[in-house]
């Protein structure tokens, strides 16, 4: 118990991996047992994360749990094994631990073979996501960020649709291209700072010429923007989403994309505040393009899953717009919108998966009159659709409203125009979602022998209802009382933005967890930034 008390985060992050490897070792014939064990394990992780993370007082915005210990230097820069949960990542962590078992349950019968291996990969992916979310050292963050690719690659590539190999390779290489260039920026800055501690790196960055800061910010931003994905770096997403099995799509939309936005708020913006301010406008412009473009492309899709995929581009555009607004309300809106999108779009992918499992098609034209055959399913789909288009009292409304409000107040030259254009994205969202809904669920029943509707024989069963109910509860809860979910991030976000706009004497701005942890090392870091560039500090002392 003492080990657990000291390392609760290590346990949360790595327990899925341990279980995953055990499941992989199970013989092929025991796939169903592996699936069950995987689900129970993921559920246990969720319960534990709720108990441990909410047991503390998250409203304060401070650190909930933290671990930090020196890890290695590899004859050079020190790397700390530093994990923490604070106001910024608390709810994203909970979203992850929530979505994993939920998705496992929701796609219980979707896979026909190698269920054990799939469950194992899913758990490995959970480790990657949780690790990246709680990492407080950039090297550790990078490790988890890259390691996430591996299980997702196999999930798309092995269990995906007809074009799965292409989609899996594209996903892998696209993401890798961003993160490898980012790695060079990371190494550059780490060499200046004498380590991978974000606080020290931020301090070192502030001492660099503005041009260099700008390049470093771009390297960070591109890596994160690919993950978001921000227009024009989004092209991997439709392929990956459409080809991935349902569970893969849910997690991809639900958590992986969030890591991009989270990367901005946790690292890119606090580490390069000046550069972030400087590039906020172009990012806002790209976000607006993503919102409108994603919505327009979604409108013309014939495949429901592809439609949802493009709606992700549009919705994540809102997240980026909120972050780029550099206002507290906009950023808080982005934080909430990330959770919203995880819940709503995750739910949409689950629902599309349920439909596909029955009808074996996802083409809108193959359906019609589904409401008659599957009333319960239609009800759930309606609720999630409304949440996705941002009806008041659902979660989507609050997030988008805050973001638009923030954009309006951002003080950009064209800020108000951006807000107006982005609002048109909300309208377009209603158009494509409701139009799709109309064609699929309403109208006369499609009696064609080959049609999807014809193959629908059963409405949702108890398991599927059990999956959807918590989602509906969340949708309403987040819409009515969003403070539950963004109360924790308010203080850190406000502190961050205040220091960006009115820089305090302290030259770096980071979330509390990082700042507290970095405090003892500050003097060493200050020394490092004064040292001439050619003498990479401390790193090579061993050899002198």
């Amino acid at each position: 118990m003492t080990w657990l008390n000291l390392h609760p985060l290590t346990f949360l992050v790595f327990a899925p991996t341990v279980l995953g490897f055990l499941l992989m070792a199970l013989p092929h014939a025991l796939g169903k047992l592996a699936r069950l064990l995987g689900f129970l394990g993921a559920l246990a992780i969720f319960v534990l994360s709720l108990a441990w993370l909410l047991g503390h007082n998250p409203a304060a915005g401070g650190t909930v749990l933290a671990e930090r210990t020196p890890w290695f230097t590899l004859v050079g820069l020190p790397v700390d094994y530093a994990l923490a949960v604070d106001g910024l990542n608390l709810w994203l962590v909970l979203l992850t631990t929530f979505l994993v078992p939920l998705t496992m349950l929701g796609t219980w019968n979707s896979l026909k073979d190698r269920m054990g291996t799939f469950a194992a990969l899913f758990l490995l992916l959970e480790t990657g996501m949780l690790g990246a979310l709680v990492a407080q050292d950039l090297f550790v963050f990078y490790l988890f960020w890259e390691a996430m690719l591996i299980p997702m690659y196999f999930m798309i590539g092995v269990w995906g649709g007809d074009e799965r190999r292409y989609a899996a390779n594209k996903f892998f290489l696209y993401t890798l291209s961003g993160s490898l260039l980012w790695l060079v920026a990371l190494l550059y800055l780490a060499n200046k700072a004498g380590g991978f501690n974000p606080a020290l790196m931020a301090q070192a960055a502030s001492a660099l010429p503005f041009g260099v800061q700008g390049w470093l910010f771009i390297a960070f931003a591109v890596a994160f923007a690919i993950k978001v994905p921000l227009f024009p770096l989004h092209t991997w997403l439709p392929d990956a989403h459409v080809q991935a099995p349902t569970a893969g799509s849910v997690i991809l939309a639900g958590v992986l994309l969030k890591l991009g936005g989270y990367g901005f708020i946790r690292f890119a913006i606090p580490m390069f505040p000046q550069a972030a301010m400087h590039y906020a406008k172009p990012i806002a412009l790209l976000s607006v393009i993503a919102i409108v473009y994603g919505a327009l492309v979604a409108m013309v899709q014939r495949d429901i899953k592809k439609l949802v995929a493009y709606s992700s581009v549009s919705h994540m555009g809102f997240v980026m717009l909120g972050l780029a607004s550099m206002t507290v309300i906009g950023t808080q809106g982005a934080m909430l919108q990330m959770l919203n999108h995880g819940v709503s779009t995750g739910a949409l992918f689950l629902l599309v998966g349920m439909l596909y499992d029955r009808a074996h098609t996802r083409m809108i034209s193959d359906f019609g009159g589904v409401a008659v055959k599957m009333p319960i399913f239609t009800t759930f789909f309606m609720i999630v659709t409304l949440s996705s288009i941002g009806l008041p009292l659902t979660n989507g409304f609050v997030g988008e409203f805050w973001i638009l409000n923030g954009t309006f107040l951002s003080g950009f030259t064209w800020g108000r125009l951006y807000a107006v254009l982005a609002t048109s994205g909300v309208l377009l969202g209603a158009v494509y979602m409701l139009w799709m809904f109309m064609r699929v669920f309403w109208g006369p029943e499609n009696k064609d022998e080959d049609s999807g509707t014809h193959h629908l024989h059963s409405d949702l069963n108890a398991r599927e209802i059990a999956v959807m109910l918590p989602i509906v509860v969340l949708i309403v809860w987040m819409g009515v009382h969003p403070r539950t979910f963004v109360g924790a991030s308010e203080a850190p976000v406000a502190a961050l933005l205040q220091e960006i706009k009115a820089p305090a004497p302290r030259p770096f701005i980071l979330a509390p967890a990082v700042r507290e942890a970095a405090a003892p090392g500050e003097s060493a870091g200050a020394h490092a930034s004064e040292a001439p560039v050619s003498e990479a500090p401390a790193a090579h002392e061993v050899h002198r």
């Binding site: 590899l74 004859v75 590539g157 290489l173």
Partner: protein, 499 residues
Amino acid sequence: MSLTPSQWAALLPLLLPAFGACLVVLMSLDKDQGTTKWIRGAMYGTALLAVAGSFWFLTSLWKTGSQPAFFQLHMDRLAQFTGIFVAVAAALTILQSWDHFHQEGWVKGETLSLLLFSVTGMMLFASTTHFVALFLGLELFSIPLYALVGTVRARSESAEGGMKYFMTGAVASSCFLMGGVLIYGLSGTFDLAAAAGALKAQGALLDPLVMAGAALMLLGFLFKVSAVPFHQWTPDAYEASPHPIAGFMSVATKGVAFIALLRVFPGSFAPMGPVTAKVQTVLAALAVATLVLGNLTALVQSNVKRMLAYSSISHAGYLMLGFVAGTPAAYTGVLFYLVIYLAMNMGAFGLLTAFGLVGEKTTFDDLRGLGWKRPAMGFSAAVFMLSLAGIPPLGGFYGKYMIFRELVGAGHVGLAILGVLASLVSAYYYLRFLVALFLQAPSAEAERLASDRPAVHAPLAGAAVLVSAAIVLAGGLIQYALADGFAKRAIVEGLGLIR
């Protein structure tokens, strides 16, 4: 003349494989070696024992920390590191050879004996800075390899590959010899460290003949590490060789050549500052060429062995970048990288044997669906390929990390960007391996052929693959132990001693 115990200690790691080689040759005189199982077993057992003995002795030397010497043969930490490295590679090769040659139906003792002689030569090559001993080592490990490449006499490609390797290798060796002779002629000593000191004292560092000598010696090393433009032999030689031998060449030849390069250029030639600076410039240019050409050519290969050959060329590029960075930490990174590379590549070639791919049937199509049939091998394949591509948290990532970190720290940001772009390209062809293993179902014809053939039974090769996978995983999880406890001490205590 009687030797002191310390001199014996320096010699013993080399004597054991040489002695084993002689024993195996004697055993292989038996005409029935191809048919009598116990003779084959005895030959392989002897070879394995010889290598294991050498390994055991070197590790005990490492633990005690003593660094004995036999005249110009310095069994220092770096040499011990090399010996351990080569012994592990040889042991994995011997294990894989047993299964591979049985699959090919061509088991001969000579291959083992040649392998052991090559091991002896490698240990000598990396443990001396006396030019004559260095050259002896080079030839002693190269000549058996020329023969090993052409060992499957029944296949004409094998002979062709062996011949090509021999001809080009002979030219490279002569260049190396010429370079050493020039340095000797100008300095009057065969000891490279003393020669560098003498040249510096004469103020002859930038003498064209000195530069020519250094350049010719460098050429010899670059040929052995298969850097562009001295790489053309690599794909042909690997394709011609039996799989385990190709693995051994890709790992051990490259490894000892890099270690010897380390010992000579930043090591012995340290006093020749301007020369080593020029060498670094040349290495930077050639590393760029190696990375670009190796990776782009690997993209279009359909034969796995040729892909691995070009991949091995491109890895020479990353390792050369470590020399361009030129800090002790970068050299530590090079050694760390070599250890992981040993496991990754021996493992990748071992997979071909473990999957029972014989002869020419080593295309990506021949791999299709095998990952699911043999899950442990498939898992190991994923470990090797992702590690070769440098994806964390595997060992290969940390090797690249250390080298790129030092490269950026030394101000070569452009080279680092090129390096990561090269890794990106490489990820594509390593993924192809995994695509074939996991993402593609076997073709109908392959299924039919597979059902006709007896099931593949390659327990020793499988064990070698698992050991390699364990090393790669360990390199990712306890990287600090390997880097600080092993590689760094070889650099600091080993290279420092010579310097």
